[in-house]
């Protein structure tokens, strides 16, 4: 059967590995030696770990701030959806952050935030103020990292919404105009309902992006200062690779897995429902 190689590879490497993580989380393991069954003790430790709550809180901040990406992407899309000469190339340039590696984005923004020579300090200096060292301030650091991560995320939502605006039904817009809708009511009552599916995808991708955030944290702060910018994914990585506590890391991964599973279940249900209705 044609499906076998793909299914086997995916099944073993992705699905089984994910499940194995749950299994490992019940052991004490340094990644090399014998695995020692410890039952739920990793979880007991975890729920007592202040760092875990910092990560969890930061993930929530990521999630909350990332919710800005769809509306901002939509706003940009509305701005760019004009048939004017030069708009095409400008659209393409707006998309660029989307194809940059997160490492690149991280490096670029580390630089923007640099307290002595960054763009931010330049702007603050212009007003005669001193820029805060965002990345070494435990109160601001997560917000600064998320702001950087928003850059490509907004570009992604922009692509989706531009495509959505392109596919609007001309007749429905016409009907709205005949009915006297314009401006905001037109957007709210006639345009947005047609963008429902696009918005749904944009939202889903944004939520997943917020939950799997890792690269930016690793590149920009390594979780610092003093672990104040870690997220679950980063904490798991740190515990496993640097502290050789693979069982503990697996327990964090499992928690992330559960959060994600809830979301994916909701997503798949919504995705597959219309198909079943048609069948």
């Amino acid at each position: 059967m044609f499906i076998l190689p793909g299914a086997l590879l995916f099944g073993i490497v992705i699905i089984l590995a994910s499940l194995q993580t749950v299994w490992v989380s019940f052991f004490d393991w340094d990644g090399v030696g014998e695995m020692q069954w410890v039952g739920l003790s990793n979880y007991v430790q975890l729920f007592d770990d202040a760092q875990f709550y910092v990560s969890l809180k930061n993930n929530l901040i990521w999630l909350g701030m990332f919710m800005l990406a769809p509306p901002l992407g939509l706003a940009l899309a509305l701005l760019l959806n004009q048939p004017i000469g030069g708009m095409r190339i400008m659209k393409s340039l707006f998309f660029v952050p989307l194809v940059l590696a997160s490492v690149t984005v991280g490096v670029v923004f580390t630089w923007v935030y640099d307290p002595s020579f960054g763009l931010l300090s330049l702007i603050f200096g212009y007003f005669g103020a001193t820029a805060p060292a965002l990345l070494s301030d435990e109160h601001f650091v997560t917000f600064a990292v998320v702001a950087a991560a928003l850059w490509p995320q907004i570009a992604f939502c922009l692509v989706l919404f531009l495509a959505g605006l392109n596919n609007l039904s001309e007749d429905l817009i016409g009907a709205g105009r005949v009915d006297g809708a314009r401006g905001w009511p037109m957007l709210w009552h006639v345009v947005l309902p047609q963008l429902r599916e696009v918005s749904f995808i944009a939202l889903a991708v944004t939520v997943i992006g917020a939950l799997r955030s890792f690269d930016m944290v690793a590149v920009m702060t390594s979780g610092g200062p003093f672990g104040s910018s870690t997220v679950l994914a980063y904490q798991m990585y740190e515990q496993s690779i640097f502290s050789y506590r693979f069982g503990y890391g697996a327990a964090i991964a499992t928690v992330l897995f559960v959060i994600m599973a809830v979301f994916i279940a909701w997503y798949l249900r919504t995705l597959l429902k219309p198909e079943q209705e048609n069948a």
Binding site: R177, V178, D179, R196
Partner: protein
């Protein structure tokens, strides 16, 4: 006062002239149907009346008010779209009441207007449904209901029946005509279907290449087409056209010879013909007689194909060098329509005949210079 007044309207897309100096006056309560081949500008014209397209120059008046620069919602019009264009996320009632809601009317007033429209269209049971749960015919009724709810000065219809199947189309045609009689409102209706135009219109506007070719009542247009285009566009099967040359001309009379040596003498021309002018003779399929001796003009041919339509027979006949132009069969064969069922053998020789008084004559520039007499009047 005219309900809709279109004055010198032009619409250009770059160098393409979609509408060329359109002038039309629609009276209160008229049902005007605009027909023409696709790309003739009929939909563009309707959209400029609606305000969905801007005009390049010219003026639009609705009930004497200049609406040329007004938004569609402020023009006092309502429109029914080919695709129905119902808001998919709203119920039938919400769809129908949306215009009034946007106008800030109180809810009781909206509900009353929706209920009234629903009653007219027998949609009372469907008000809580979503468009997706309805059939095409029902959706079209909702779209019409949405227009009625707005109680507009003018109803605009953009090919509203072309997405329906044949049986439903006939039924909706009757419903729309009845609705027009009930409401007595001004309606402007665009279609490419000449049957809809002939059956529903109080006046037909024939458009071609962005220009109005002729305006008139259905029977007037059928009997007295102003030119070759209108003559060919209205009537199914299409009129037979044969080209010829004027060989004799005297006063209001002319003698024309066609290919194969067929001669036709016509008098009562509206303008004198010139000897040597290339003209076109037109004869409707129902005026051609088969194997009927004693007619003035007759020629021989061979049966190519016979279609039996139950109450009538359509016959396609090849007549050698004598060919028709732009015929329905895509060949040079003559089309004859016989009001009864008569069997013919394919390839059988037949004679075709017609009377000179049934023939049309078109000048080289397409204008009609002779029509059949007498003309039928209702």
């Amino acid at each position: 006062m005219a309900s809709v007044e279109i004055q010198n309207v032009q619409k250009h897309y770059g160098s393409f002239h979609a509408l060329n100096d359109i002038n039309l006056s629609v009276e209160e309560g008229e049902f005007v149907v605009m027909v023409g081949p696709s790309g003739c500008g009929k939909s563009t014209l309707l959209k400029t009346i609606a305000g969905l397209e801007t005009v390049t120059s010219g003026q639009l008046l609705i009930k004497g008010r200049d609406v040329t620069r007004l938004e569609p919602g402020d023009r006092g019009i309502a429109m029914v779209f080919q695709s129905y264009a119902l808001y998919p996320h709203m119920t039938v009632a919400e769809n129908m009441g949306f215009g009034l809601r946007m106008a800030g009317r109180p809810k009781t007033q909206i509900d009353a207007a929706v209920a009234r429209a629903a009653k007219i269209l027998r949609l009372e049971e469907q008000l809580d449904k979503k468009p997706k749960q309805m059939s095409g015919g029902q959706r079209q009724r909702v779209a019409i209901g949405r227009a009625i709810t707005r109680s507009p000065d003018v109803f605009l219809f953009d090919e509203p029946l072309s997405n329906l199947d044949a049986a439903l189309r006939t039924q909706m045609r009757v419903e729309l005509s009845t609705l027009h009689a009930e409401l007595g409102s001004t309606m402007i209706y665009v279609t490419h279907d000449q049957v809809e135009a002939m059956t529903m219109a109080s006046r037909i506007v024939v458009l071609n290449r962005g220009r109005i070719e002729q305006v008139g009542t259905p029977l007037d247009l059928y009997s007295n087409p102003a030119n070759l285009f209108v003559a060919g566009f209205l009537g199914a099967p299409r009129m037979n056209f044969v080209t010829g040359k004027v060989v004799e001309a005297q006063g209001r009379s002319a003698r024309i010879v066609c290919a194969g040596g067929l001669g036709v003498a016509l008098d009562d021309l509206v303008q004198p013909a010139a000897i040597g002018e290339a003209v076109t003779i037109g004869i409707r399929p129902e005026k051609l007689r088969i194997n009927d001796a004693g007619s003035a003009i007759a020629f021989g041919g061979q049966v190519r194909l016979t279609e039996y339509l139950g109450r009538e027979t359509i016959l396609y006949v090849d007549a050698g060098d004598l060919v028709t132009t732009g015929s329905d069969s895509g060949t040079g064969a003559f089309t004859a329509q016989i009001g009864e069922i008569r069997p013919f053998q394919t390839a059988a020789p037949v004679s075709i005949a017609f009377d000179a008084r049934d023939a049309y004559l078109f000048a080289a520039d397409g204008r009609t210079i002779s029509s059949p007499k007498p003309v039928a009047r209702l």
